[in-house]
């Protein structure tokens, strides 16, 4: 009886190993293909076989040296700058808003939360035309500052997850501090924030990676100013029909180069990401 149970368990486990391995391969293969293609020597976009016959490192070299038309290093730098600034502004506003909603009690709080919640549902790019003209009226079109503003301005509305987290921090802490004469400002900075590392890291992580992935807003704001492009827009340009025959392999190399730091960052911070997501999910 016990033996057969063990056998069955081993069998199931073996089956699970097989299924998981197959799935892992399916999930990793496209990325492997991307890396392989970025080292391919044949210049045409499509080849009628899978494994390239010639290998080269040229695609990477061209990516960083041949910058007259496709200025990848510049785009990378642009995105990095935008990501840093919008990350700081977004993180600060999300934390401020969610702390306020979670901890402070004031008139019409409930109503404001609901309004914020509804506004947060609104996909920003539905209003892209209006935003564009607003930015233009400010004299910021084709400017990286505009992107920073757009990415971080609405961040305050993404309070749901971190509010859920703050809700779980015991209120007794606040009360004890208040008795000791601390102001709410001090409580926020000295007590709550240090305790909320997972959610702070989660917020930083999501707001830092956002600008690397956004395409629509960058496209609308930047227009023909190739110097001001971000990575997403630049890589998209490289697979458009005017460019693809010349730049497809550079596109692959560029995609690898941008994926590596983000992936590394993500894997390192994975723990916090999970805590952030589930913390928010469990607590709603």
């Amino acid at each position: 009886m016990i033996k057969s149970y063990k056998l069955r368990r081993n069998l199931t486990n073996a089956l699970i190993y097989v299924i998981l391995s197959v799935l892992c391969i399916i999930w990793v293969l496209p990325l492997a293909w991307l890396i392989m293609t970025s080292f391919r020597g044949e210049t045409q976009v499509y080849i009628p076989y899978i494994i390239p016959k010639t290998w080269t490192f040229d695609n990477y070299i061209r990516l960083f040296t041949d910058t007259s038309i496709v200025n990848y290093p510049r785009w990378f730098l642009n995105t990095f700058v935008v990501a840093c600034f919008s990350c700081v502004i977004s993180t600060v506003s999300v934390l401020m808003v969610s702390y306020t909603f979670s901890r402070l009690r004031f008139k019409s709080r409930k109503k404001i939360i609901n309004i914020g919640f509804i506004l947060g549902m609104f996909p920003g790019f539905l209003t892209m035309v209006a935003i564009y003209y607003l930015i233009k009226a400010m004299g910021l079109s084709q400017n990286l500052i505009a992107l920073i503003l757009i990415y971080s301005a609405g961040a305050g509305l993404g309070f749901a997850i971190s509010k859920g987290f703050f809700d779980t921090v015991p209120r007794a802490l606040d009360e004890a501090a208040t008795i000791d004469g601390a102001t709410r400002n001090q409580i926020f900075w000295k007590i709550i924030l240090p305790m909320s590392k997972p959610i702070v890291v989660y917020t930083i992580l999501t707001s830092f990676t956002g600008p690397w992935a956004d395409f629509i807003m960058a496209r609308i704001i930047m227009g023909d100013a190739k110097d001001q492009y971000t990575i997403a827009l630049g890589l998209w340009t490289m697979v458009q029909k005017e460019y693809i025959d010349d730049y497809f392999l550079m596109f692959c190399a560029g995609a690898v180069v941008v994926a590596i730091p983000i992936t590394a960052l993500f894997l390192k911070m994975q723990k916090y990401y999970v805590e952030g997501v589930t913390g928010g999910a469990v607590k709603g």
Binding site: N13, I16, L20, W27, V28, P30, L34, V45, P48, Y49, I50, S93, M96, V97, Y99, T100, S102, L104, I112, G116, L119, M121, F125, L126, T127, V129, A130, I131, Y133, L134, A137, L149, I150, A153, G154, A155, G156, D167, R184, N185, A213, F215, A232, L235, V239, F251, C252, A255, A259, T263, F266, L267, Q270, Y273, V274, V277, T278, G280, A281, V282
Partner: protein, 500 residues
Amino acid sequence: MNFIDYVQLNPFQKFFYKLKTFFVNLPKNIARFFKFIAMKIAAFFIGIGKAFKFYGVGFVKGSWSTKISYVIMGFGVVVKRQLIKGILFFITEVAYIAYMITFGWGYICKLGTLGEKHSSGGIDPVTGMPIVAQSDDSMLIMLYSVLTIFITILFLVLYVVNIKVNLSLDEKIREGGHVNKIGEDIQTLLDARYHVTLLSLPTILICVFTVLPIIFMILIAFTNFDRHHPMGGLFDWVGFQNFADVFFNEPKKAFTFQTLVGWTLCWAIIATISCYIVGVIIALMINKKGIKFKSVFRTMFVMTVAVPQFVTLLLMAQMLNDDGVINVLLRELHIVAQNDYVKFLSDSGGWLPKITVLVVNLWIGVPYTILSASGILMNIPEELYESARIDGAGPVVTFVKITMPYMLFVMTPALIQQFIGNINNFNVIYFLTGGGPPNDNLLNAGHTDLLITWLFNLTLGYNDYSLAATIGILVFIFCATLSLITFNMTKSSKSEEEFG
């Protein structure tokens, strides 16, 4: 069903019970909703009445300096020794008046007609150059009018605050109380009124970059700003014309709208549920006791989350192309004939591309579910499983009776969020198929177009701004209603009141 019965249900059944009651009560709730709106409107007018009363009474009761403050903001405050605050009030008033005279008023005046001057042209007989007298720009008139209205509201709020401050100072002086110095005022902003400090910056940003554009877009939906009315020229108010067109007035538009609504909902439901189920199953396998290399497996999946989405999507689009690597693979494996290929993204019937985008979405979405599901799985109390095992339940039964309901219960809000996210899932469709393959029964839309990609193409490709705005509003109303309902249905919004 009474409370005792309800408590005995498992979470799964509870959820469906809630769902049932929700739909049973729907008509009643809708009626209640409209009653609520009516009450709010009434309350609004009563509130205005009260405000005027307050305003009048305050004028009669206030000191002489308060009375002057009704005209010159901040005067009373300065007299009552809050110099800096008073000067700030005064500067606001001067700035507002200057703004209105030089800029704002001119635009507000034109808001009713959106400008009337047409462009006219001719030839300069000396240089032979064409000369064009520009028409009014309706869009700028609208944008700046909305901005001016915003600023006016802000100013009115400050004005009322000015009066309130005056009145409360009057009262304090009458009672011989202490008048705050500016330093003390700042101190309260860090403590008693800390919420004002924290919320002000995000609120300003949100007002300018979210609320203002939304209002602007809502206004656009009531105009005829389309490709026959080019950018920089004139257009007019048309009332509910666009909504009528989308629903019944123009058969082709209405048909396209209905078809896309159908496919968008279909897509969102299937995409959400498939990602959820596959993700949970994989998470269960990874987290099963006795499975080693947990973190290796998890890392493999998580890598796809980390790589920016547009990269993987552009990549997938290349791989799934008629000559792409997947077709090459199929050929090498002799699944398709040597010269043949599977039209993953281009099959004109539309079904294969639809399935393809769903599968690719699965590839992209599942790792997210794995991440969050893993966390939740670890939180399921072990006793539940223990007792189930004692009762002789097998793995399948425990899964159906314990794991699944628990996960579903905890993840419902996240699922609804994901559902809404999928309705607005621009990236997957746009980068993979661009909405194609084209469908000649639809108006400027293809087989895989979602409402949101249609909207994008209408805006950028066809310059049909008013139609795009109309669709945007409809999508927004749908999403907002759905999320409000779930938000208020879930436990969290109630339980947090315990803190209050």
